[in-house]
Amino acid sequence: MITAGIDVGSRSVKVVLVEDAKVEGAPQLKYLVRGKHLMFPGDLDADVAAEKAFTDALGAAGIDRGQVSVIFATGAGRKMVKFAKDSVTEMSAGAKGVSFFFPTARTIVDVGAEEGRGIKTDGTGRATDFAGNEKCAAGAGSFAEAMSRALQLSLKEFGEASLRSEKSIPMNAQCTVFAESEVVSLIHSSTPKEDIAKAVLDAVASRVCAMVRRVGIENDVVLIGGMVHNAGFVQSLKAAMDVGEIKLPEMPEYVSALGCALLAAEGVH
C-alpha cells in the first residue's frame, strides 16, 4: 500500500510517499520513503501547488496516481488540499514523523518559515502538548531570512557567518521590523557581519527556546523544519536550550509530510 502526506506550508509544499515494504520491524525498515519539495508558486493557490507537487512526486517516484491508497494533508494550508482524504495538524504530523527517525524523542522543535513550535511527545508518535509562536514572525525562519537579506547574505552564508563569531550581542527587538532597524544600527556601528548574524540567530533561538520551555525540555531533543539547514541557528539553539545534543533528521523539512503519510498508512485519525 502506498500513502501520501502533503505538507502545505507558508512558503513551500512538501510531498512524501510511503510504501509499506511488508517487512516487520523498525519503521525505517517497514516503509520506503520518497519525497518531493516544491517552492510555493507565485499565485499562492495552495490547492494548485499541492496538485503540482503531488504530480511531480508521483512522476519522480514512477508511481501512478491510482496506486496511492490514501492522501492526508498537513500544514497551514492543509484544509485547501481538496483531493486529500483528511488532514492532521502540524503537531500530530511532526510528532509522528519524528518517531520514524528517533523513537526516543521527547521534545520536538519545529521551525519552519512562518511558525516555530515546541511539541512534547511520548515515544508513541503522539503529540501530548504543544506551544507555538503567535502572530510574531521573530521566532520563525522568515525572520532569519529577512535578517540575512538585510546583511546581503544568502541564508547559507548567513548561518556560516554566525559560526565564525564568538561574540554575544543582545538584541532587544522581538519584531522583524524593529529587529531590522537594530541590524541597520549594528551595520552603521561597523559591527562585523558574522557578529550580527550570530546576534540575530541567538535572538531567534532565544525566542524559540522560551516557547519550547512552556512544554518542558526533555531529552531526546529533535529539531525539524527548514531551519535545520542553518548551522548557526542549530548552534545557537543548542546553547539556548542548554542541551548536550539536538538530533537532526536527514530530511528535516519533510518530517511533517512524512508523519502525515504514516498516519494515513496507519489509519490513525
Binding site: 503529540a127 503567535e134 502572530k135
Partner: protein
C-alpha cells in the same frame, strides 16, 4: 472519550427574558433623566448596592459589559478604538477602556443616540486600569468621582482591620453620594440592595455548580449572556429574582438530562474574557463534540463561592440563612465588604497560585478534559499570571492550550490560527470532528 454520545437538547426558556432584561438596563440608563432619575458609571465590580440605596430611579452604566457589547459590533468597536487612539491613548491599554472612552468621545451610545453623561463616578479599585479609566471620564464629563480601594489581600488572609478598611470606605461612599446628589441614603433600601446582591451572586454560583452534571446543561457561550446580568446590576431585585428563576430551570434540565451540546463527549474550560467578536470559536468546539462548561471567569467574576461540607464548591451561604442578620448600616456594610472580598476572580491579583488552585478544582469537580487559556492582550488584569496558571495545570498532567487574542480589539485575534490551535488541541485530546 471517543465514543459519540447523544443527549436530548432544547433551548433555554429564559433566554428571551435574559436578553430583554439586558436591553432594558441600557435603555433605562439612557432615559434616566426623562424620569428625573440619576445616572452613575463605574466598573462591573463596583459595589453597586451603595448607589442602589439612593432610589429605584438610580441607573448605572457598567463599563466592561458595555464595551463587550460594543465589541460584538466590530465596526463600531473599531471606530471607538480609533477615536481613543487618535486622542493619544496607547493601543496596548485595556480594550474595554479604549472602547468606552471612544464611545464617550464620539458621543455615540451603542443603543442609539448620544452617549449618556453620568452624574457621578462610583468605582472600585483592584485592576490597574480601573481608576485611570474613570479618572479620564470624570475629567472629560466634569463629574464628581469616588474610588473604593479593595486591594487588601487575598480572602484567606482576611483580618478585622482589612474589613474595617473597606467598610469605612463604604461609609465614606455613602457620604459622597449624599453630598453630590443631595439625596439621603435609605438604610432599609441599602440593606435590601445588599441582600439582593448576595442573593444574585450566590445563586449564580449555584447555577454554575449545576454544570458539574454530564451532560452539561449550559455551555459557556450561553452562560456569557446569563452571567452578564450580574455585571449590570447585581443588587437589583430583578437580577436576584431572575437568577432564582434560572436556577430552577437549569436544575430541571439536569434532572431531565437536557444537554447544551447534544453530542457532548469532551468537556473543556476556558479562561478570561473571550474575544467577543468571535464567540463562534465555541461553536467550532462543538464540531468535535466538545463543550466549554465555563471558566473561573464565568463562575467567579460575579459568583460568590464557598467550600461546602462535602468538600465541593458551591454558592456561598447567605448570612441570614446562617443566622446573621443585616440589622443596621454598619453590620450590613461589614458583611458586604466581606462578601465581595471573597470574590474568586479577585484572588489572583495577589498570587497566581490561588487562581491555579481554583482552576484545578474546576477541572476535577466539573470533569474537565482540557483547558483553553485565552492570552487576552486586552486585559492585563485578568491575564495577570496566566502562564503561571498554565504551568501549574500542566504540571498536574492537565492538557492545556493557549491562544492569543483580545476581548475587544479584533486586530489582535487571528481566527484561522486559533482554529488551527483548536484542531491541534482536539487531536491532543484524541478527538476528531463529529459534525460539519
Amino acid at each position: 472519550m471517543n465514543a459519540p454520545s447523544r443527549y436530548p437538547t432544547e433551548p433555554l426558556k429564559l433566554w428571551k427574558k435574559a436578553k430583554e432584561l439586558r436591553e432594558q438596563y441600557y435603555r433605562n440608563y439612557a432615559s434616566a433623566k426623562e424620569k428625573g432619575g440619576l445616572r452613575w458609571s463605574g466598573s462591573a465590580w463596583a459595589l453597586d448596592a451603595i448607589p442602589t440605596a439612593f432610589g429605584d430611579d438610580v441607573y448605572s452604566l457598567t463599563g466592561e459589559p458595555y464595551a463587550a457589547t460594543v465589541s460584538h459590533d466590530r465596526k463600531l468597536a473599531k471606530e471607538c478604538m480609533d477615536t481613543a487612539e487618535a486622542y493619544g491613548f496607547a493601543r496596548d491599554l485595556c480594550s474595554y477602556m479604549r472602547i468606552y472612552w471612544g464611545s464617550m468621545h464620539l458621543n455615540k451610545y451603542a443603543f442609539g443616540g448620544e452617549f449618556p453623561k453620568p452624574d457621578f463616578i462610583f468605582q472600585s479599585q483592584i485592576c490597574c486600569s480601573h481608576s485611570k479609566w474613570y479618572q479620564h471620564v470624570a475629567k472629560v464629563e466634569q463629574v464628581p468621582q469616588f474610588y473604593l480601594d479593595v486591594g487588601v489581600g487575598p480572602f484567606r488572609d482576611l483580618t478585622k482591620d482589612r474589613i474595617d478598611y473597606v467598610a469605612n470606605q463604604l461609609h465614606d461612599a455613602i457620604a459622597f453620594i449624599e453630598k453630590v446628589t443631595g439625596r439621603r441614603c435609605d438604610d432599609e433600601r441599602l440593606i435590601h440592595a445588599i441582600k439582593n446582591e448576595m442573593r444574585s451572586t450566590s445563586r449564580w454560583a449555584d447555577i454554575c455548580a449545576l454544570n458539574k452534571a454530564v451532560p452539561a446543561p449550559l455551555d459557556e457561550k450561553t452562560m456569557y449572556s446569563l452571567y452578564v446580568l450580574a455585571t449590570l446590576h447585581k443588587s437589583s431585585s430583578w437580577c436576584a429574582d431572575f437568577y432564582d428563576e434560572l436556577y430552577e430551570e437549569v436544575k430541571d434540565r439536569v434532572a431531565r438530562g437536557i444537554a447544551a451540546v447534544p453530542n457532548e463527549r469532551c468537556r473543556v474550560m476556558s479562561d478570561t474574557q473571550p474575544p467577543w467578536a468571535f464567540l463562534k470559536i465555541f461553536r467550532y468546539l462543538e464540531t468535535y463534540g466538545a463543550v466549554s462548561i465555563g471558566s473561573l471567569y464565568t463562575f467567579g467574576l460575579e459568583g460568590i463561592w464557598e467550600d461546602k461540607p462535602d468538600g465541593s464548591w458551591g454558592g456561598r451561604t447567605l448570612p441570614w440563612e446562617a443566622g446573621v442578620e443585616l440589622k443596621d448600616r454598619d453590620t450590613a456594610l461589614r458583611l458586604y465588604a466581606d462578601w465581595n472580598l471573597s470574590k474568586p476572580q479577585w484572588q489572583h491579583f495577589y498570587d497566581p497560585r490561588l487562581k491555579t488552585d481554583m482552576m484545578r478544582r474546576i477541572v476535577k469537580e466539573w470533569q474537565v478534559d482540557g483547558v483553553m487559556l485565552h492570552l487576552n492582550r486586552g486585559c492585563e488584569g485578568l491575564s495577570l499570571g496566566i502562564m503561571e496558571n498554565r504551568r501549574g495545570l500542566a504540571s498536574d498532567g492537565i492538557p492545556v492550550m493557549t491562544f492569543e487574542g483580545n476581548m475587544g480589539d479584533e486586530r489582535e485575534f487571528d481566527e484561522v490560527r486559533t482554529q488551527a490551535r483548536v484542531d491541534a488541541f482536539m487531536e491532543q485530546l484524541g478527538l476528531r470532528k463529529v459534525a460539519a
